[in-house]
Symmetry: D2
Subunit: 304 residues, 4 copies
């Protein structure tokens, strides 16, 4: 089957699942999105693109932006970032303070909230406005200058950010946050509010499938080794507490968000983005995870 047929097949298969997930409800803007949306887009490294369903509709990236913030920080600061954030799966709910306290303020990895706040802090030390720096980075790798924050979402994030404030203050207490807590939280909330479509997201992630180099421009974001290492991190830590299960079922490096988006990579071949707002119990898109599982089966693509 060609990719377009495969996407159409998957889109038909997931329909019964769309009613089973639960949309995130902690902010009104996410709560009011219909769980019946489904979109999927493939960006092949040779430039071919395929898509199905709501692949061009914008959605809130949320934690998927953690990947881009990390890529930006890693490209600028290199391996020094690992002195402040670990590279191990968390093994407990993604916003838990327990592990953070036991491990003296050093987050387990850059994809849990604590780790993402450290990355934001690192970027806040380097850029005048770290949220703008991330936005410009995303616009560049997606080749799409109109990508933007959603100010309403960002504002709601800020108003419900008590747990993130708790995490940030705890890290501040341990000396692992250098900028003011409010600065870091504000930037983080804006970063999370970025909206993109599946088609844009697949294109934006394609440099990680091509060993750190943007396919259409040849710009090198990361060295090949660094890019592979980010892929490894995505596989072991990219989908909250379900990373093991996700690797077992899907077998691709991926990063998910509570907006229902997931970006996954077939190294050397393509990037694939999927969006469906209904989440499973682990906070990952229910239909999206299934769609990617079917994608690796139907394309016989897996890194294993």
């Amino acid at each position: 089957m060609d990719y377009q047929t495969i996407l159409a097949t998957i889109c038909a298969e997931v329909q019964p699942l769309l009613s089973q997930g639960k949309v995130a409800t902690y902010i009104p803007q996410l709560a009011k999105v219909s769980p019946r949306h489904f979109g999927m887009a493939v960006y092949c490294l040779d430039g071919q693109t395929f898509s199905v369903g709501d692949a061009d509709q914008k959605f809130s990236l949320q934690s998927v932006t953690k990947l881009f913030a990390l890529a930006l920080a890693f490209s600028r600061e290199g391996d020094t970032i690992w002195s402040r954030v670990g590279r191990e799966p968390s093994g407990s709910p993604f916003n838990s303070l327990v592990q953070l306290e036991y491990e003296r303020g050093k987050p387990r990895n850059p994809f849990i909230n604590a780790g993402a706040l450290v990355i934001t802090d690192i970027l806040s030390s380097r850029f005048v406005q770290s949220d703008i720096a991330i936005l410009q980075f995303v616009r560049m790798i997606a080749d799409q200058p109109n990508i933007d924050f959603d100010a309403t979402v960002a504002q709601s994030e800020r108003e419900t950010a008590h747990r993130n404030y708790a995490i940030a203050h705890l890290m501040k207490d341990f000396g692992n946050l250098h900028n003011p807590v409010k600065t870091v939280i504000d930037s983080y909330c804006r970063q999370c509010s970025i909206t993109m479509s599946c088609a844009e997201l697949a294109k934006a992630g394609s440099f990680l499938a091509q060993h750190g180099t943007v396919p259409w421009s040849g710009a090198q974001i990361l060295g090949a080794s660094s890019s592979k290492r980010l892929n490894a991190l995505m596989l072991t830590c990219g989908t909250y507490d379900a990373a093991g299960d996700f690797a077992y079922r899907v077998g691709l490096p991926a990063k998910s968000g509570v907006g229902g988006g997931i970006l996954a990579l077939v190294p050397g071949e393509l990037a694939v983005a999927v969006w469906s707002p209904g989440l499973d119990a682990t906070g990952n898109s229910l239909a999206g995870t299934y769609a990617l599982e079917r994608f690796t089966t139907l394309t016989a693509r897996s890194i294993f």
Copy 2:
């Protein structure tokens, strides 16, 4: 560089590291092995083999046998095993009882001791003697009938198995152990005592690089999908608490043991085994991990 040159290069490079690791000391038989050993062997799916150093010397497989026990159980029982053991990284020391208690006796994955005991329990329900069944399975996939237990090691394991007894009794209390505790522990201790050489280990693991089929015989141990899924588990959970770091540095599915052995896979191409008894702080072979990191760099092989 060809594989033989690469192995020779790595063997030269690791020499300074051999004095840095610490051999496991919890049983006398492991404590008295010199940390200066180093062996490495590659088994290509086309039948070619390469090796260097102490690649033909037998060593204690220890936790590497958890992989073979799992493969055997998975081949016989299929996905039903996941009702009794999870597929997520543990995120805490590999023999911790804490997580086991919080999660009501269901171990996080089959590669921590608790999970391996559940797998042994499953095999003990199916086979008259689960340890013999595992041994025969290993002999078959390694094509080497003289592979055997080390009775002295098994006896020492039994004598120092208090923590494993604690784990087993706790799971028994939660109803997740069906056979007598002593039966399971005895079998587990014998299984851990299996000795093999790197050359044998690489050959034994090659079916996992060839999608579940033994390369030289064509025997199908696992379906392609199941085999890929075991690879995913190895990557996310195969190297104790360092799985994230190992994936970051090495980027291959692997299973390690405190005897200093590590088996790693390049899916579709080869299996590689390394042995050096000096361990790092996470319980993985220090020189062995470095050797595999260099192997993926020099061969430009990585799953990412």
Copy 3:
């Protein structure tokens, strides 16, 4: 009001509560006891006794025996026991392994199972048969030679002792258990099976109300200072995870058991025992706790 009137008042008041508790069900012998039993007995240091309801019916002491085992060990070994068991409230479920692992095999206090096993271990090192030693000690302080084990209960305890086995093996692994695990568990299960009536229990505990000296015989079990210290331990740790709440409501040093018995002390005045098999969510006798709360109110007795 005189004590007899007070006991009668309380007995009338608790009747509606008798249907609200839940009897322990982990062994059949406890599960089949009717929750409608209620007995209460007071032993004044001047020798006067008062009782009401089922005060002469035997019941399973269970964890109340931990107090007598501790008193015996403390009387023989003195403060050296505190090198192996702590004196702090546990702050988590009474049979939790978590804290034990974090604290390297040293139990928080002698009234949680782990701590009681250490005390049994200490007694097992000193006496040929620690369970017999405890029984003889209890017979002596109760002035009642026919107090005995319940062999059926002891056997059931042994058969369901997986969690205690887990705890004991974990402590063995940490080096904090000197005798064989099976020896300690067997003794502990027999100790727990001792049966007594409220009248006997109040008399047996009276030496702790009289600063360590048996009121009717003048025999000194513990020095005054040691006796006060056991009282302090009872107050802070004697009623499982509800010690704070129990102190708040009742305000007396006490030790409870899942058989539904509670022994409490008014230092310098009396010992009071209550029995009602229905337990509250914390494992303490529901009607018994209420009865003691009323007792301190109606007698205007409290240590505070």
Copy 4:
């Protein structure tokens, strides 16, 4: 011995201990206090007072104020406060976030920081300025209108309050903080900065020794039952993680602070305050704890 002789004896005995404790260092104002200070004062319910050493020197009350804030809140709100804060010992370091997260934002007791913040929040809902309300309450029960905040200490507390901010935000996230985080933290930091002398502190606490009634004025702060219950809380939770050990050694209800002060009660007889800035590993005054242990021994006073 009379009280004055006893105090003099104790003062002589503690001299060698004064060099062994460590003063709190997290804010400069505490760090620069000499550990050689020692003061002790007794306030008998009949109005007699005794004192020794630096009994009239002001020191920073710190956590001792948690007792007065609780008494004020309890006197106004009664048992409704227990829906928002527990009554159990914490069993883990006094500022730990772990337990707070496991228990969904409900602190274990009012004497750990989390619980004290909830009490401050309760007071902030009732009074225009909760810190002023606490100060006026303390002035009243100490009969000393010149008791005041230390503005420098309060400012330093605020600047290093990251962990308290983390705790407050976490409770806010769980819905257990009704006023703005900053309001509560500011009030709490001011409350902690109150300075008093031992003589003032003993007098201020005397109503808790007299069943809730101020001895010299007859004003009833709390009912007898409520007062006894606060005593019980002090005993089980008043000295951080060392409450069990403190009860074992001293055997009196007490509340300590990192400024080196401890207030203890002999119900029905007296209140005793001690101050020595050198702390032991649990955060309690090293010489102060020893002094109280000696006090109960020499006076033969204990609640047990």
